[in-house]
């Protein structure tokens, strides 16, 4: 099986979908001639032409609204926000139109929004955010946060096949840094099924996206302490795999929830609250949350490093839990 970067897996998966289904088309800023700011769609326009790989004006509203209208007419648009941060400009069209149209008007809106997200490279306040929890709060939207190349491809296929608006968060820090085996053939990975990234039975870290690797590195350190830590990668937040989380919480009795998004109102709070409601009697200690602090994402490397949860932070959190 070929080994690919996370970015190449997304690119190949998307290309495969364009070949597989004539209704699929790509729209976004600089996605055509330039191949996208991160080169995910490099070479696409040569293969599929300018009307299936559409360079859009700098208009996030028109991109998302345009995708919505095209979806209503039977297309399967895959729209790219150049950075996930810019989705704020299209909030209204996701939240007001796309998210609510099926519930109130009965018409499905099968759109995918690709959102390069996350920090770790001095992108500053406007090119580094992880806004997944804002959208997880909106009924009608699905939220996907793959961590591995194979998941990124398989979840992208599911996103395109899904009948609903799907926000597909691609962590930029993983794009070229993470490699993994990715099947060449077309396959899909269902939403709402967590993946055990690392086995363990004394503490479980529930996380997603780039934090899967931070958690895994921290688990390696705890292993040297003689503590066995499981890393559970949620893969999708809406829907999220409550059963897998609750099973792991009951089995290990100790849970650490980790995310790169900021703390207050982050999706980790939802997970912690659910565990408190459903698995309280099984816990040996408090559900611990590690997340970014409630600030914008700072630019300068020492500040950004202090902002994004680091392996040492997670190690400290795990040791705190291990002591119970």
């Amino acid at each position: 099986m070929p080994e690919k970067t996370y970015l190449q897996a997304i690119s190949d998966g998307l290309r495969q979908e364009l070949r597989h289904d004539q209704r699929v088309f790509v729209l976004g800023e600089d996605v055509g001639v330039y191949g996208g700011a991160f080169k995910v769609t490099q070479g696409f326009q040569e293969e599929f032409g300018p009307w299936r790989v559409i360079d859009m004006p700098l208009s996030e509203t028109a991109i998302v609204a345009g995708a919505t209208g095209a979806a209503l007419m039977g297309m399967r648009p895959v729209a790219e926000m150049q950075f996930a941060d810019f989705v704020s400009c299209a909030w209204d069209h996701l939240v007001t139109v796309a998210a609510k149209q099926h519930y109130r008007a009965g018409t499905p809106i099968p759109i995918v929004l690709r959102l390069p997200s996350g920090g770790g490279f001095s992108g500053g306040p406007f090119h580094s955010q992880n806004p997944e929890s804002s959208f997880a709060h909106i009924p009608g939207l699905k939220v996907v946060c793959p961590a591995t190349p194979a998941d990124a491809k398989g979840l992208l296929v599911s996103a395109i096949e899904d009948a609903n608006p799907v926000l597909f968060f691609e962590h930029k820090h993983l794009y070229r840094r993470i490699k993994g085996e990715v099947p060449d053939e077309r396959y899909s990975i269902p939403f709402g099924k967590a993946r055990t990234h690392r086995d363990g039975d004394e503490i479980v870290v529930v996380t997603w996206g780039a934090m899967v690797y931070t958690a895994s590195d921290a688990a390696d350190v705890l292993e040297q302490d003689g503590v066995s830590v499981e890393v559970l990668d949620l893969r999708t937040l809406i829907p999220w795999d409550r059963e897998a989380v609750l099973e792991a919480a009951r089995r290990t009795s100790k849970v650490l929830v980790l995310h790169e998004d900021t703390r207050t109102g982050g999706f980790g709070a939802e997970i912690a609250a659910t565990i408190a409601e459903e698995a309280f009697e099984y816990l040996d200690g408090p559900v611990k949350r590690i997340a970014a602090p409630d600030t914008p994402v700072p630019f300068s490397p020492p500040l950004e490093q202090a902002f994004i949860p680091q392996v040492d932070d997670v190690v400290a959190g795990l040791r705190h839990l291990a002591a119970y």
């Binding site: 509203t61 345009g66 209208g69 209503l72 209204d92 008007a105 009608g140 009948a163």
Partner: protein, 347 residues
């Protein structure tokens, strides 16, 4: 900047030249009467406490709505707004379902999930508006984008009010449509008031249609109380778009003859303004035209008005018999299922 200001239509011959026969004219009249009649009965329902929430009408906009909808082809689509009930009527939405929608009943097009004219019927090419005007305008542009990609000879009509034309959605949608020469017609219902804000505080240009030039397409101003002139301009624009000639921006000028919604007495609108525009009432104006130019007989008129009255009475009764939505269905349909895509609502 000078946009073209559309001329009124004077004679039956001119009307026939734009493709309408006498029966079509009576149909237009019937649709205008139906739209107004539904809203007049809506006021009564509201006073009876049968309409939850607020109630919005389009009195004064019947010609603009029906004129445009009459010009749309069967496979064309649109995103009409809260003053455009006539569009829904013209394209075949059944009045009883509209009453049921007003009252939050199960048989309304949204089954009680949304109210007022927030309705659509994908099979009729109509897609439900949202309150965040004009958010559906760039969605209409997206529909036109699909037609362009698939090289279909279909047209989208995207509505906007004078107030909402100030928003970025309108700009982004029109700009994209101009850049890609998409088969879309923009229809600005300029009723001169955005809630209580007069047009003079909403935009600094004489005609909103002037903006079309900035997007690289044609703009035209039409008297929105003249249903035949609206029809002619809409038909020209729609057929131009269908022939890959790109978008047109039509500004239909009217006056909103009631408040923003039922709670609003519109006391901020000068009385003389209401009086002036009442003399140009689109339905009365068209009735006089039919009498003068189409030789509508008393018997024909009576048949039309009696037919509309019976339709409305029957519809209202049927809507009142519609049950409330079942609270156990509250959670249904937040997400669509994949099989809905296999049997699409769109056409």
């Amino acid at each position: 900047m000078a946009v073209r200001e559309a001329e009124p239509i004077g004679s039956l011959q001119e009307v026939q030249e734009v493709g309408l026969d006498r029966e079509d004219l009576f149909g237009i009249y019937r649709n205008m009467l139906t739209a107004r009649g539904i809203e007049e009965r809506g006021h009564i329902l509201y006073k009876q406490g049968k309409i939850p929430g607020s109630f919005y009408t389009g009195r004064g906009n019947e010609a603009a709505a029906v004129g445009v909808a009459t010009a749309m082809g069967p496979d064309d689509v649109g995103t009409p707004l809260q003053r455009d009930l006539g569009v829904h009527i013209t394209r075949g939405v059944e009045p009883w379902r509209i009453f049921a929608q007003y009252m939050g009943r199960r048989d309304g097009p949204t089954h009680g999930r949304d109210g007022n004219v927030h309705i659509g019927d994908a099979r009729l090419g109509l897609h439900a508006m949202v309150s965040h005007l004009p958010a559906m305008l760039p969605v209409g542009v997206g529909m036109a984008l699909a037609f362009k990609i698939r090289q279909e000879r279909r047209v989208a009509v995207a509505w906007c009010g004078d107030g909402a034309s100030a928003r970025g959605d309108a700009h982004e949608g029109m700009n994209l449509a101009g850049v890609r020469r998409l088969p879309v017609v923009f229809l600005i219902d300029n009723n001169q008031w955005a809630y209580s804000t007069p047009a003079s505080l909403g935009h600094a240009i004489d005609h909103l249609a002037d903006r079309a030039a900035a997007y690289g397409f044609e703009g035209v101003v039409v008297d929105g109380t003249d249903v035949l002139a609206v029809y002619r301009e809409a038909q020209r624009a729609i057929e131009k778009a269908r022939a890959d000639g790109g978008p047109t921006l039509i500004e239909a000028v009217t006056l909103r003859m009631e408040g923003h919604a039922v709670h609003d007495d519109a006391s901020y609108v000068p009385r003389e303004m209401f009086e002036e525009w009442a003399r140009r009432d689109p339905i009365e104006r068209f009735r006089n035209w039919l009498l003068e130019h189409a030789g509508m007989t008393t018997q024909e008129e009576d048949e039309i008005t009696a037919g509309v009255k019976k339709l409305l009475n029957d519809s209202l009764q049927r809507a009142e018999e519609s049950p409330w939505p079942d609270p156990s269905t509250l959670l249904d349909g937040v997400f669509a299922s994949a099989d809905e895509l296999e049997t699409p609502h769109h056409k």
